[in-house]
Amino acid sequence: MTLRFTFDGRDYQGRNGDTLASALLRNGVHVVSSGIRTGRPRGILTAGVEEPNAIVQIEEPFPEPMLTATTVELFDGLVARGLRGQGRLADRPDPARYDAIHAHCDVLVVGAGPAGLAAAASAAATDARVILVDDQPQPGGSLLGAGELLDWVAETVAGLRAAPEVRVLTRTTAFGYYDDNHVIAVERRTQHLGAAAPAGAIRERIWRIRAKRVVLATGAHERSIAFADNDRPGVMLAGAARTYAVRYGVLPGRRAVVLTTNDSAYAAALDLHTAGVEIAAIADLRSSISASTSPDAAGSEWARRCTERGIEVLPGWAVSAVTGEHRVSAVALRALTDSSSTREIEADLLLVSGGWNPVGALFSQAGGRLTYDPALAAFRPDGGCRQAVSVAGALAGTYTTSGCLSAGVEAGGGAGLITLPVVEEPEAAPPIAVWTLPGAGADAFVDLQRDVSVADLDRATGTGMRSAEHVKRYTTAGTAHDQGKTAGTLTSGVVAELLGVEIGALGTTTFRPPYTPVSFAALAGRDRGMRFDPVRVTALHGRHVARGALFEDVGQWKRPWYYPLDGEDQHAAVLRECRAARENVAMMDASTLGKIDVRGADAGVFLDRLYTNMISTLKPGAIRYGVMCRPDGMVLDDGTVIRLAEDRFLVTTTTGNAALILDWMEEWLQTEWPSLRVRCTSVTEQWATVALVGPGSRDVLAGLAPALDVTRAGFPFMTWRDTTVAGLPARVCRISFSGELAYEINVSWWDAVTLWDELSARGVTPYGTETMHVLRAEKGYPIIGQDTDGTVTPHDLGLGWAVSKKKADFLGLRSFARTDNMRTDRKQLVGLLPVGGELLPEGSHLLDAPELPEPPIRALGHVTSSYHSAALGRTFALALIRNGRALHGQTLWATLDDRLVPVTVAGSVLYDPEGARRDG
């Protein structure tokens, strides 16, 4: 099938199964991008994720920056362009969906080449739960590029797919390896379909895989050599060229010169020759290679095979020059030992193999060590790892197919359970390590994506740098989005050469996740918008929405903020709600308050230790306000304590601290006071709570609870009654957080709507958190977490009356005697009345002068709460001010925008200081 695509504004056609890179080569496009610093034209170096050069921006169907042309699967309608450096993000919302999934297995195999497939099949044969992930569209790994054992691959994959406990994930890159064998992978599900992707389908899925055992079969990446003009389009890694010819059916050139340090380039040369590429010469940097066709010349089987085909093998020869800026046109070769022996060869392709680097990124992330192996001329996994991980295949330095297969079977744990195909392979000759060719300088690149050359590395070592990490940061080698997959070892090799040290002693830089770039959209997955964090709602949420409430986030809760009527702004709505509560009757959904059932023979003792005030003397039927401090004497939380029975209390916490206080109780019970016989149970959502507030509340309650004696004497302040309200079993508490006559009616969460509707039917005005804040602030009731910040004691808040002087001990007691707690200039909670009627911003600083003094400025304190008051007919604020209670009646100045405005310091209780309204 023909696929149409556009690259750099020109239309082309590719084939099904192409990558963008293979399709470009198919169309004779060899210049794909340009160097970020040098601007030099750049082509395609590799055929995989390690590509440093062919960086592209996808424009259609949806913009995606900085992808490698070698990994973009071609689809009809693709529009892309080459990039010099960074791309651009989409300027429109991404219509695609992303998600994440958890998976567990006995054996996770990463990589579906010969070793990985054999490992997966072997593990599956043991009845293990197996996950096999591979980043390619189809399994096979290096076998695809070599065209080997494809029948075995197909048969093995079919067997794996049919096995019930095996999951095969293609197009899936394992990019992060974390502790306890937690491996994170990204599956690309619909990108390759382009515009044909089903609407609403998940585009990318993050796999969070927990494996009992991991087999890494991540293979190896070929590396280049640093020589002058090694970045020219047409210079390609030999294995990549083989892959283009064998797997994609594309010839990357017509006439090639090969430069190699090892056997693998011979296999590539032979396959390319078979495919129709003329191989002009193979310059083998190993002078030991014999091209003799004599069968007794050791270690030169590959060279003999080439010679038989008429391919010239030049042992001990190197590349001395590359001609052609936009495409290689000729390659000059020179004998290493005899500089007068030279060749100038016309060629459009220079195939390079500087050796193979085991892909050790995940193994290194797992905590495994990579050590330089001179026999391999590469860093490879060495020894054990703190995690249950093993390595197999090319990652372990095994480069024969038969070796990879048997190592995979061994690693999979099913040795003896599966049969392997027999592979005949020539005896290998050892590779050598070559990092630079003579004359390598400013045009000899080690990192093509960052445009870092041998000259740059020379400059770094010339300044005195001796560590690979320092050189990396100084030159940026290995810091591009390919993370130095082709550059890392080469850089270390060149630096070691410059410093005159062993590369093994120098080492490599550190591998960190992600192995390949991962989109933020994929990482966000489904956790975006309203699903970013759970939203908690009360049983009355639907009623609040229906009344037009605006909502305030309090922790994860949505609480009604205020309920504007038609045409009302926030200011008008809140003033109206405040008036309803102070002058008539109003109600608020208080269900979000934390509720903890505390019971047991020692419950009173326990609460005495937690609260600053005495709880154990509370009579059943009564309620007490209480304050909790941390051991440092600072206020932790406040709320009410209801004594339900001799051994049973119900404690309320602030909305945001419900879970924290339960944990706090459990911590003390479990770790410090295990002898106390106390059990704590959260009942926050067992009960829905409606606060019924205002001088009219008694009549409304009386109408709904005919069995309840609602008289002052019959139902005094700070007591509770179990009764029936609106026909519902209810617990009514005479508590007030507004200073008005008020009741908190608790019913089952299931009954909340019925209660609310009954109250609404009686014309009770609903109010939200903003009005609640105003009402309580008028009374000087602090909100823990708003008027406090972890440095405030009960005494600072004017709650000294709630600190017991009788109890022998409680949390915080000792700290009240600390010098710092005894200071007379501690910040204290006071009221503020802006003289000019301004609404002070919360956080405004307070000064004792009308003009800003010269810095440093020592503020006296800051505003913690600030509102318009309907009852006071003015604005007011609460503030924490140094020695504030001694400043009553004095004038201070508050910062407001870029000016200072005068405020009068007042007591914190601004409304009904006598408390006359509490009993109606």
């Binding site: 956790d527 964090d533 019971r599 016989r677 926050t684 299931w750 009954d751």
Partner: protein, 186 residues
Amino acid sequence: MAERSPLADVDLSDTGDRVTLAEVPFLTQLDVRTSPSSSFPEPGTFRTDELDGEATFIWLGPDEWLVVGPPGAQKRLTERLESGRLESVSDTSVVDVSAQRTTLELRGPGALELLALGCSLDLHPRVFGPGRCAQTTLAHTPVILLQRKHCVTTGEPVFWVLVRASFASHLASWLLDASGDLTAGH
């Protein structure tokens, strides 16, 4: 005047053809905190008790169990617990938390995959078979998860997800959204 369950207003039917989701409302739920004894299920398990017949005992922690029964059985079950197996235990509490959580029943060939989209536990039948329970998070929401049984006709697992009332609509919305992304097998 009718009681309203937390998901009374949520249409749970639009889950595609691979899972079904239903609220099991108004179950009796009693939180029991007491010293561990052999009369309660082991960590990570639950069982429907023969003595109490109608009650399922769910392990929540080293000294905490949730006893679940049919709607309206709060008083009966509390009395049976307190007069029966908890009688001799002094530091014990039984608290009615029936309205605290609602229960979602999840079943179908896609149930495991749907849970895997939001829960990090291994719920494979080899690990989390019938009778297993856990306190965990699903879609970042704290839940109690039970593998009830295998469906008699299909052999597929049936899960109960007990979720706090305040989180119920968030979780239901997440489950409905995610159920549209289930693959047709792997």
